[in-house]
């Protein structure tokens, strides 16, 4: 056998040629690919309208249901609030519905809080147990020892739980709102007399000063603010709003605005007053607005001959740009320039958000900021502040008929609230969790948690834990074995908003009232009952008397009745059909000039001099609110004008050198949805990290402490300590460290030391006006783990 050279060559070339030819033949080019025509996917598919409840705003949603399962949630195209768009948390709703850790049946703890032994129950049995506990309370005449604490955004839950508490005889219906909301509402309450956060007519605003507010990064109007941002920038031919972001640290959003102004923590209001000073001294204020729609701008003489100081002289005297500059750290020239631009840039809006709302001086700071709007006449005009109208729902008020109930109802609330001339005043002596632990003013025997995980999501974690361990019977209406539910005696899963009939009014930003009808878009798991339906049943289990206050057969019936109040002119059937088919009812467009709707405070005007505060001054003083001016601390007239009060910080000094900045992002909000893997995996802007709780720390400081990126460190305050991972950041101030709500999941960290949330670091400080939580005044120390 001889190998011929030629044979070799032939064979070799033939092989190569064949290979090439084969390749060329198999070539996939643009025309060879068969572009399939969409044949559709077999299976039933439908679109259902409902309301999103991932935050309290109330966007309309369009849910895509395929073969009985929810595969996508989009914005409702016709809904006036979100207009077909939807924020990242809304998009993650299917993950909430199909969370692998969801509980599907009630559980009762037959063991102890240290050593749990969860046993399955039916819903009937669970309600029987709860009814039994409540009957015990009635037997002991201690109905007021029941606390119903709710974190639900649902109007229906709110109505039913409040009614339940009223008819049962406990004043302790505690509705927990999103962080910052209370302070924003109080600021409006003091100046306008209406207690809801300010809304803005974004579309027409030409100059926007954002005081510590970022679109979408909170639960306060995320969608409208983001939508408004787009419109303000490029949505109107020839006009582009100038946006100024005032904040304590440079964020990714700061890189999107025209000007970023750095301000010292808790001094936003001071800056606003400095700007007010310039506007007033340069006489750039809107005289007509002030004369027609405000009270207290100039010094006043009352009918009875007493005099009250006015805003004008007060500001001119106390808040010169120089004085403000040293408080805020903002240069003199900047304050003057901002003031001039603001006054000239009409329609101009000053909007305060999470930034000022997070400190102990939140309410007064937000008042100071809002005063700027009044100064330039940006209230109740296109492009200015508007007041959200609530839909008029038909709600019967329950009136307790039994004298015993009346006695219980009159007991002081466990959270120390005193209602005083329409101004809710709280004691700052101690926050709610310590009061529960110390049984002040009386011990609590039954605690109902509804969609609320205080241990993970509220300040004062450690005390909440103690409280939950101490209270003899805790029932948690929750779908998960979360940090608080773990310490409960009974857990009743109440389903998600996609599985129940519900009602939700839009809480801000449309101006005109909008009411959304939520519906079950899929079959809920066998037997599962939502909160309101549960409470309806419970009320009926409590006996005929209580049952008589809850005559509805189902929540759907109740909703139908409530909705009948929406529009007097429409027939009930017609109204319900509209609601049913569209998923919402709205009464647009917004009409300006309804003075009595916009100003419910004294004189139906904007109150520069806050009469409400004056009326409540005794309670305020008892609650711990002190005057900045007088030595005794007793409140004087100048305290009822907008003032900058220095923010309180916990444990200042060398022991706790860093100011902790806790903030939310569009993805994490205030941390409520940290259980959703779909959101945890999203990389936070500017940080290129996910899943892990990061501690943002200045580069230089990190070097001094010998920290490297991704290094685990303890972050400790006087209230607690948690584990975080270092992330060096040029934009953090040297004296601050930053942390994002919701990063890293409690109980799902590889390192068990990382299981607590940043709320563990926060003390229980609340604002006496309104009781909003302060989360901005904590100081911490950091060291290697």
């Amino acid at each position: 056998m001889k190998i011929q050279r030629r044979v070799f060559l032939k064979v070799g070339l033939a092989t190569a040629g064949a290979l090439a030819a084969r390749s060329a033949w198999g070539n996939v080019g643009p025309d060879e690919v068969q572009e399939p025509q969409w044949e559709g996917v077999p299976g039933e598919e439908k679109e259902v309208y409902s309301v999103c409840q991932m935050c309290p705003n109330g966007c309309g949603i369009k849910v895509r249901v395929y073969e009985g399962r929810v595969i996508k949630v989009e914005g409702h195209p016709g809904h006036p609030l979100n207009k077909g768009a939807l924020c990242p948390r809304g998009q993650a709703a299917p993950r909430l519905l199909y969370h692998p850790d969801r509980l599907t049946y009630p559980l009762v703890n037959k063991g102890s809080k240290k050593q749990a032994n969860w046993q399955k129950l039916t819903y009937e049995e669970a309600l029987d147990v709860l009814a039994g506990k409540l009957h015990d309370l009635t037997g002991n005449r201690s109905n007021h020892h029941l606390v119903a604490a709710s974190g639900s955004f649902s109007d229906l839950d709110d109505f039913i739980l409040e009614r339940f508490c009223n008819s049962f005889g406990t004043p302790n219906y505690l509705k927990f709102e999103s962080l910052g909301r209370r302070a924003m509402s109080m600021a409006m309450g003091l100046t306008h007399g209406s207690y809801s956060p300010p809304s803005v007519d974004w579309d027409k605003c030409d100059y926007l000063m954002l005081f510590g507010a970022e679109p979408g990064a909170t639960d306060n109007s995320p969608m409208p603010m983001m939508n408004g941002f787009g419109k303000m920038r490029q949505g109107r031919a020839g006009r582009r709003t100038k946006i100024v972001h005032i904040g304590t640290r440079y964020t990714p959003f700061s890189s999107k605005v025209d000007e970023w102004v750095k301000v010292n923590p808790g001094t936003y209001g001071a800056l606003a007053l400095g700007i007010a000073h310039v506007i007033i001294s340069e006489e750039r204020f809107d005289t007509e607005f002030i004369d027609r729609f405000s009270l207290g701008f100039r010094d006043m003489t009352e009918i009875d001959g007493t005099t009250k100081p006015g805003f004008k002289e007060h500001v001119l005297r106390n808040y010169s740009p120089e004085a403000v500059s040293s408080i805020t750290g903002v240069p003199n020239e900047t304050i003057i320039r901002l003031a001039e631009e603001f006054a000239d840039g009409k329609p101009a809006v000053a909007y305060g958000g999470d930034g000022p709302a997070s400190y102990s001086n939140a309410v007064t700071e937000l008042v100071a900021i809002h005063c700027l709007n009044a100064l330039v006449g940006s209230i109740d005009v296109p492009g200015g502040i508007i007041i959200q109208q609530s839909p008029s729902l038909k709600k019967e008020k329950s009136s307790p008929t039994d004298a015993l109930f009346a006695y219980n109802l009159k007991q002081p609330r466990v959270d120390g609230l005193r209602q005083s001339s329409d101004l809710p005043v709280f004691s700052t002596m101690s926050g709610l969790p310590s009061r529960l632990v110390e049984a002040v003013p009386y011990p609590i025997d039954v605690l109902m948690l509804v969609d609320l995980d205080p241990v993970a999501n509220l300040p004062g974690s450690a005390n909440w834990q103690k409280a939950l361990e101490k209270i003899p019977f805790v029932v948690s209406f929750s779908n998960h074995l979360d940090e608080s539910s773990k310490l409960a005696d009974m857990i009743i899963p109440n389903g998600t908003f996609l599985e129940r009939w519900d009602g939700k009014s839009v809480d801000s930003s449309t101006g005109f009232p909008v009411w959304g009808l939520g519906r079950p878009v899929i079959e809920s798991p066998e037997g599962q009952i939502d909160t309101s339906s549960l409470v309806l049943k419970l009320a009926n289990k409590m006996g005929d008397k209580m049952g008589s206050f809850f005559p509805w057969g189902s929540t759907k019936d109740l909703l139908r009745e409530m909705s009948s109040g929406l529009q007097a002119s429409a027939g009930e059937d017609e109204l319900w059909n509209e609601l049913d088919s569209q998923g919402f009812w709205s009464a647009g467009p917004y009409s300006f000039g309804q003075q009595k709707e916009v100003y419910k405070a004294r004189g139906s005007r904007f109150n520069f001099y806050m009469y409400l505060m004056e009326a409540a001054s005794a309670n305020l003083y008892e609650g711990g609110f002190r005057s900045q001016g007088s030595t005794s601390g007793r409140l004087t007239q100048s305290d009822f004008l907008p003032n900058h009060i220095s923010p309180e910080f916990s444990e200042a000094g060398v022991d706790y050198p860093f100011h902790l900045e806790l903030f939310g992002t569009t993805v994490s909000g205030h941390g409520r949805w940290s259980l959703l893997d779909g959101l945890q995996e999203i990389l936070e802007l500017g940080l290129n990290r996910s899943w892990r709780r990061l501690l943002l720390i200045n580069d230089y400081t990190a070097e001094q402490y010998d920290f490297a990126n991704d290094m685990p460190v303890w972050v400790e305050s006087s209230s607690g300590k948690i584990l975080a991972y270092v992330k060096k950041s040029k934009v953090m101030d040297r004296s601050c460290v930053g942390m994002i709500f919701g990063q890293g999941r409690p109980n799902h960290n590889a390192d068990p030391r990382a299981n607590q949330t940043p709320f563990s670091l926060l003390g229980e400080q609340i604002s006496p006006i309104g009781g909003g939580y302060c989360w901005g005044g904590t100081k911490v120390k950091v060291y290697k783990a």
Binding site: P30, E35, Y66, P88, Q91, A92, H99, S255, D710, K730
Partner: protein
């Protein structure tokens, strides 16, 4: 035949990442979990990327949403050894999961790093499988994937138009990211249709494309921040 393109107005974008989350839900993108994500193996067909200017003390961090550019001259298609990625007649750069051998040449060739790889088998717990969409195939381990300009929505819209006996019009096709964007910063349409919104916006003075000088011909056009312009 259309030539699909996208316009992203950076002046409207707030960086909220709704587009990122919506895309993941629409396209059955799996989570990889904390350890894998920390290694840099997360899959984000739409991702917000930063433009850092390190020189500035304050670290100017502008960001832009970056899907696949669906280049007119795609470098990934050039290098794929098996033709698992191709450019179709409507300008979309497609990915054939069934043919991909996972060599990752396309991922290294893409100048936008817009392609992702399944390092492990994507997994969903039984309960989580319920939110998977039937419109988009699940990928096996070992193949490359990337933004498809929601090609399933394009096909659905085309089918719907056909059933209704009409042509596709501007606005019929909306990708998941564009539908959800709260500030309406994402536009999508036919670049060859002179009346489409994307065509008009593409001519804006504010328009630019990423890494344009490379000759890739990306069909995602950005509008930079700045004064209002048509």
């Amino acid at each position: 035949m259309a030539r699909w393109g996208m316009v992203i107005d950076l002046d409207r974008c707030t960086g909220c990442q709704a587009c990122v989350v919506a895309c993941r839900q629409e396209n059955n993108i799996p989570e990889v979990g904390p350890e894998q994500a920390a290694m840099g193996r997360g899959i984000y067909w739409m991702q917000l990327i930063e433009e850092k200017e390190a020189a500035h003390e304050d670290a100017h961090i502008a960001y832009l949403p970056r899907p696949c550019m669906h280049c007119d001259n795609p470098l990934c298609v050039k290098v794929c050894p098996v033709g698992a990625t191709y450019k179709n007649s409507e300008g979309l750069v497609g990915q054939v999961y069934a043919r991909c051998i996972g060599c990752r040449y396309c991922t290294t060739a893409c100048p936008y790093t817009a392609r992702y790889f399944n390092w492990y088998k994507p997994e969903w717990k039984p309960e989580e499988k319920k939110y998977l969409s039937p419109d988009v195939s699940l990928r096996p381990k070992g193949v490359v994937e990337k933004c498809s300009f929601c090609v399933h929505r394009i096909r659905k819209a085309r089918r719907k138009a056909k059933d209704e006996n009409r042509e596709l019009v501007d606005g019929d096709v909306v990708p998941a990211c564009g539908e959800t964007c709260p500030s309406k910063a994402i536009f999508f349409g036919d670049l060859d249709d002179p009346n489409s919104e994307v065509s008009k916006l593409a001519k804006s003075r504010r328009a630019f494309r990423l890494e344009d000088h490379l000759g890739t011909g990306p069909k995602v056009i950005y509008l930079r921040e700045g004064e209002w312009s048509e």
